[in-house]
Amino acid sequence: MRAFSYDGRVGFGSADEVERAFAGESYLADRGLATALYLALAMRRPLLLEGEAGVGKTEVAKTLARLLDAELVRLQCYEGIDAAQALYEWDYAKQLLYARLLQEGELEPDRRLAELHGPEFLLERPLLHALRAGAGAVLLIDELDRADDEFEAFLLELLSDFAVTIPEIGTIAAAEPPAVIVTSNRTRELHDALKRRCLYHWIDFPDVEREAAIVRLRAPGVSERLARSVAEAVARLREWELAKRPGAAEAIDWAAALALLGVATLDEETARATLGWVVKNEDDLRVVHARLDELVA
């Protein structure tokens, strides 16, 4: 499905439309998320998504890319990431070879050393790639909280003017800025300046209804009854004090596994046998095993 053009760019006409389009791609966005996405596209602002692991932050960007028929460009952040890994890098080995050829006279004299920094020696990294692709791309900057402050500052600059200057080549600017989704797991607080630059949405765990619907959408073999009992059990698990609270991804896997085993509805015995699908921490398993009767009550 291809969304129609809005405000000179590919986008959606309203938040409802976003909600419907996402549902069509098997992503059930709630009202808040749909509105935030719509606003981000209409106002041409990056969208900062926060929430616990497994609530589908990354999936939002993937779905959006599919809907806009755009290329998903993903930048996974980690501690120590810098411009060379995120923006561009020169292909040194190739440059060296080229320099040797120049020296040995194998190349015409009018192709001079300056060309060593021509575009053909430039290794494109995700950010530069997204800039060049412009509106044809959805840029996902994943887990920005993992990168250092300096990188955040660098990114802020890039997100402000969607242009970058490479000394040897010149300025490369996006004709039409790409849609940008930034995610963070809140391991540290992002800078205010960056937050000001972005629209913000907190993705919460879905309620039981929505979760059951998500499970049914993502795991087609699951009956309505099973989906509901899994959603209820997962909601209970999230109330308990666990090291890792299960996300929607775990709920889907669990339901799919149960369906494969031919289980109609969750009971103590089947829950015990398949618990590893939803609880993935040894301490947590001990806690949950002791309270299995409450889990499926």
Binding site: S14, A15, D30, R31, G32, T35, A36, Y38, L39, A40, A42, M43, R45, L47, L48, E50, G51, E52, A53, Y78, E79, G80, I81, D82, W90, Y92, A93, Q95, L96, A99, R100, L102, Q103, L113, R146, D149, N185, R186, T187, R188, E189, D192, K195, R196, C198, L199, Y200, H201, W202, D204, D207, E241, L242, A243, K244, D283
Partner: protein
């Protein structure tokens, strides 16, 4: 909002109300809010503000409160859990408020006790005046935690080949890479995470420990501090206030435990239960300040300590009871925790904190 003659004025007034509630709402944000509101049907006004004015769980909580007061109701959705839970009110237990602290500092035009005496006096025995001098002394403490290897590289005498700089060099020799250049990984200081026991039995030390934590938080923006008694509170943000008295008072208010007991195992459980805390702990130097008088299950404490020790690079336990040379860690909680502690010290006076700071700096990754 249709009842108002000028909707824009109402949006602006709403922005001001948020500002009064302590949200950082600049004029730019209000403009964004108005733009967003114009793009949406009136029923979605709540979401227009959420996306533009409330960047974070704590902010959403306040935003909801103001929105409800201003526009009546908030669309049904659970508020996300804030980073660190705040206590509703201040209870008994910690004898420290900003007023008391300021009161004390007013009276200290001249302080007779020389620094060295202060350094050697147990925090439990300090008078208010002496406590008031603590901040500047603690601030002088050089906290330099051990280093770890970072992914970043910089020019070095040896290490791996640095192609970029080698190539640059080769231009001088006509494209012949005659001189090789190298680069090596840099080292970064490890994160320091402080876990402070603020239960009643630790009350004589609490103020000094919080001041110590304040100095640490001011030293490095990436460091974190938590308080615990029967539950855990993240106090890093409160302690980053420039004014030590205000910082300590605010942290104390957030952390005060009405119960006054110590459940270290459970508090550690809360720490280990949140993913964002896990990444804070991973590879960090963790300093626990507690007398180890555990009221909960010692076995649970042992298990949690084992997990903490696996995550952290180095675990230090400061126990003021250790000040007494005859002290032996007989309390069951302390005994259960000890196998997972790398450094067991007293931390009851400045001298011992200084010694700890030196020992940490001497550790190398």
């Amino acid at each position: 909002m249709s009842s108002s003659p000028d909707p824009l004025a109402q949006l602006v007034a709403f922005g001001h109300a948020l500002r009064r509630e302590g949200l950082a709402v600049g004029t730019g944000a209000v403009v964004e809010f108005a733009r967003a509101a114009a793009l949406l049907p009136a029923a979605d006004l709540y979401w227009a503000g959420r996306a533009t004015l409330a960047p974070g769980p704590a902010e959403i909580e306040r935003y909801d409160r103001v929105f409800r007061a201003f526009f009546g109701s908030v669309p049904g959705q659970r508020a996300p859990a804030p980073l660190g839970r705040r206590a509703g009110e201040r209870g008994p237990g910690l004898g420290m408020t900003a007023a008391e602290g300021r009161e004390a500092s007013k009276g200290t035009a001249f302080l007779a006790s020389p620094v060295e005496v202060l350094r050697r006096t147990s925090f439990g025995h300090l008078s208010e005046e002496e406590l008031a001098r603590l901040p500047e002394l603690v601030a002088r403490l050089r906290l330099s935690p051990p280093l770890r290897r970072s992914r970043r590289r910089r020019a070095a005498r040896d290490g791996e080949l640095d192609l970029r700089r080698t190539l640059r060099r080769s231009f001088r020799t006509g494209g012949e890479p005659a001189e090789l250049r190298f680069r090596a990984r840099t080292r970064k200081p490890r994160r320091l995470v402080l876990l402070l026991d603020v239960s009643r039995s630790m009350a004589p030390f609490s103020r000094a420990l919080l001041l110590f934590a304040h100095a640490a938080m001011r030293a490095d923006a990436r460091w974190e501090a938590f308080c615990f008694g029967t539950r855990l509170t993240r106090v890093s943000a409160a302690l980053r206030d420039a004014d030590p008295e205000r910082a300590v008072a605010e942290a104390a208010e957030a952390a005060v435990d009405r119960d006054g007991g110590t459940r270290i195992g459970e508090s550690l459980g809360q720490l280990l239960a949140r993913r964002e805390h896990l990444s804070v702990l991973r590879g960090a130097v963790v300093v626990i300040c507690s007398d180890g008088l555990e009221r909960g299950d010692p076995e649970l404490l042992g298990r949690r300590m084992a997990r903490l020790a696996r995550l952290a690079a180095h675990v230090v336990w400061l126990n003021p009871l250790k000040e007494d040379p005859r002290y032996e860690p007989l309390a069951r909680g302390m005994r259960a925790a000890l196998p997972f502690v790398d450094d067991f010290a007293s931390g009851h006076d400045l001298a011992s904190l200084t010694a700890l700071a030196d020992r940490l700096a001497a550790l190398r990754a």
